[in-house]
């Protein structure tokens, strides 16, 4: 004998954009403060401000020794620093720390259920937490990019100022800021997803890091299967390759930017699917 069916849930009649907006803003109020002001954020601040020290030393050296290279070489120096130290190490690990822990951190703290017990679609939770992570990261790391960029040209005095007012510096700075934002968007989505997928997301993080690191030495075809290839393509000052580095054609901006955004959206979509079926189980942590 079959049991009578249960009452059907009321259908979703319209998309409640304004409700979602207020829920996301509620999440932002709660989360951004946590990412910016908690003890945990100290590691992010350390990472963000670490690249500033070499530039301070650069200034100190300029003051004490005075033999500054050509300003164009300074641009190359910054490009090298940005692409290796900042993009591949600092921003990458900052994304790992921030975004793998958006949900994994709540599981470790045994506090995820508070979010799941709110009348919020879990997809909205993903978006809200992701935006909060982005917002906090941008605040910290864009400041770092601006300070470090200015510090490169500071020892040049008037010449440096001219480079900003009538030279390409402002354009370069905006490009670097844009690349930083895109890096956080792309890597952030990937690590949010790995944080949902794996109990210990360190292994996928390291695998991705190694892949992104060796990418420059792989055949041009394989280079295109990485975030860093598209990010580096968007950097305003290209670097020359080393002896064993294969230089793939940089991807044009019209492909890199929408491509990265599309990948980000796709990964966020997968994360939303994953979280829809996520259960609360703190026992194994």
């Amino acid at each position: 004998m079959s049991a009578p069916s249960l009452p059907a849930a009321p259908p979703q009649t319209e998309v409640p954009w304004s409700l979602w907006k207020s829920q996301v803003s509620g999440l932002l109020r709660l989360e951004v403060k946590k990412y910016l002001l908690s003890k945990r954020a100290l590691l992010l601040y350390f990472l963000a401000f670490l690249p500033i020290f070499p530039f301070l030393i650069w200034n100190l050296r300029a003051m004490l020794v005075g033999d500054l290279p050509d300003i164009a070489q300074a641009s190359m120096f910054y490009a090298g620093m940005f692409q290796t130290l900042m993009l591949h190490l600092v921003i990458f690990f900052a994304c790992v720390i921030t975004f793998t822990n958006l949900f994994r951190g709540e599981v470790l703290e045994h506090s995820l259920h508070y979010y799941f017990l709110c009348p919020v679609r879990r997809e909205v939770l993903v978006v809200g937490k992701y935006i909060a992570g982005q917002f906090a990261s941008w605040i910290i790391f864009l400041i770092c990019v601006v300070i470090s960029f200015c510090l490169v040209y500071f020892p040049y005095g008037g010449q440096g100022l001219d480079y900003f007012t009538s030279g390409p510096a402002i354009g370069h700075l905006l490009a670097y800021m844009g690349v930083t934002v895109l890096a956080f968007l792309g890597y952030g989505a990937v690590f949010l997803f790995t944080g949902l997928l794996f109990r210990n997301p360190i292994i996928p993080a390291i695998v991705i890091w190694i892949w992104e690191g060796i990418n420059a030495f792989l055949p041009a075809m394989l280079q295109k299967i990485s975030v860093s290839h598209y990010l580096i393509s968007l950097c305003p000052v290209p670097l020359s390759g080393g002896p064993i580095r294969v230089i793939a054609d940089p991807a044009p901006a019209w492909l890199s930017v929408p491509g990265l955004l599309l990948v980000t959206l796709a990964v966020l979509f997968l994360a939303s699917l994953k979280i829809r079926h996520m259960e609360i189980s703190y026992g194994g942590e």
């Binding site: 207020s22 509620g26 999440l27 946590k34 017990l117 919020v120 079926h277 609360i280």
Partner: protein
């Protein structure tokens, strides 16, 4: 009452890998206070987590006031859950804890603030509102969790061991709160090991053992249905010896113990209805003067002992 006002479990099972959580649960809970009773590991928390979508059933269907638990955006406007997890988001004070999550509900500031203070008042934590939750005592943490669960004025309140760690005064206050909510027609589903308190407040009980429901409904009704367990009846009367001798002439009597003052009798019978008929006859025909008659084992504690007590697990 229409189905959409009830909490319905239809053939629900939940397995954690090969471990059984609950199995083949069929329930239909009407508004009022429902007590979930069972030893540790019997499936009470699993049942509550299934009800609130924190777990998803391996099999079966669940409907909470006509809403499926996997639609949190609809469900948690009407459901509040005070979990057993004794953890809180870091660095928050009591007010922020309730207020922040009300903002995630989508409430605007004045409304959220007003509802936060009301909830704090209901659980008696106004004075401690600005203190860090991490510095709260166990009882205060329990109350702030409860405050958060009721802050948005839900129609269904699910409470996992809400009386744990509360002092007697606080327990009395919280129980009074449950009663008031129940009188307003809300569902209050409480799991607890404090059986005598559950006995007082519950309109119905659900007893679980090893993931199965072993009894469900009004506790007196449950006791009456347990015909295989002789019922204990306490009788205060002027001729207990005569009553004892008469009931042993019937075949349903199992045991009778005279009170030491000679004014009462505790008896165990397999057929309470026959005993009451006999007593009626003795009152009308033989002048037996009865001061009081009361069942001695139709409370939650006794039923628990009969149904679950010998299967292990601890309960106070």
């Amino acid at each position: 009452m229409s189905d959409s006002q009830d909490i319905i479990f239809r053939n629900v099972s939940k397995f954690y890998g090969e471990v059984l959580g609950v199995n083949r649960v069929d329930l239909n809970l009407a508004p009022g206070i429902t007590g979930l009773v069972g030893p540790n590991g019997s499936g009470k928390t699993t049942l509550m987590n299934l009800m609130t979508g924190l777990l998803q059933p391996t099999r079966g269907e669940i409907s909470i006031l006509g809403l499926p638990p996997d639609r949190p955006e609809l469900l948690f406007n009407r459901v509040g859950y005070c979990t057993q997890y004794d953890s809180f988001p870091r660095g928050m004070n009591g007010f922020q804890f309730i207020y922040s999550f009300l903002r995630i509900h989508g409430l605007v500031h004045p409304q959220a603030e007003d509802m936060t203070w009301k909830a704090l008042e209901m659980v008696g934590l106004q004075d401690a509102a600005k203190r860090k939750v991490a510095a709260y005592s166990k009882g205060m943490r329990q109350r702030i969790k409860l405050g958060q669960a009721i802050a948005h004025q839900p129609d269904v309140l699910v409470l996992d061991e809400p009386l744990n760690g509360l002092d007697p005064m606080a327990r009395a206050e919280i129980i009074d709160l449950f009663k008031r909510l129940s009188e307003k027609g809300k569902h209050v589903i409480v799991s607890s090991h404090i059986l005598h308190e559950l006995d007082v407040i519950s309109d119905q009980v659900v007893m679980l053992s090893n993931g199965y429901i072993v009894a469900e409904g009004d506790i007196h009704g449950v006791r009456e249905e347990m015909t295989d367990v002789p019922m204990q009846i306490l009788v205060r009367c002027d001729k207990p010896a005569m009553l004892a001798s008469r009931i042993f002439q019937e075949d349903h009597a199992v045991e009778a113990q005279m009170h030491s003052d000679g004014q009462g009798l505790l008896l165990r019978t397999r057929d309470a209805d026959s005993f009451f008929l006999l007593m009626n006859r003795m009152v009308t025909q033989e002048g037996l003067r009865v001061e009081s008659v009361a069942p001695a084992d139709d409370d939650v504690h006794s039923v628990y002992l009969y149904l679950i007590g010998n299967q292990g697990g601890s309960s106070s």
